[in-house]
Amino acid sequence: QIKSETALMNAQELINKTNEKCFAKCVLKPSSSLTSSEQNCLTNCLGRYMEAFTIVSRAYTTRLAKEIRHEPSSL
């Protein structure tokens, strides 16, 4: 149950970042409620941010593994 704390903080941080980035991109002029086009944008944005996170995670861990194999102390 200590383990889950790092995982939980990770999930929390991912949600916070998604919130920040998608609010910035999709809610350009806050009005009296979320419009349906803002909601569509948010749904797309959530999917894309998660995808970006996956792409970046894969690229980073691949690179990390490569660097550790070649020059242990360079990164």
Partner: protein
Amino acid sequence: MADKFDEASQKELSKFLENEQAQARVQSTIHQLTSTCWDKCITGTPASSFSKSERGCLENCVDRFLDTSLFLINKIQEQRDASFSG
């Protein structure tokens, strides 16, 4: 230091600190939201009062930010539920 207090004082202290932490968290969120909403709503040079559209934007900004948060969390739960039952 703590062991100089009796039990009642310790409880009071820990309740006080919890309240302080909760307050500090709320304050920190308000600073964060003020910064976000300022950047989104105030795009020109500051004048001696807000324009009607700036004020409206600021007043709606907090609620729409929190709506966004709830909307995204609901979407994530929907997708998780769908993937468990699917």
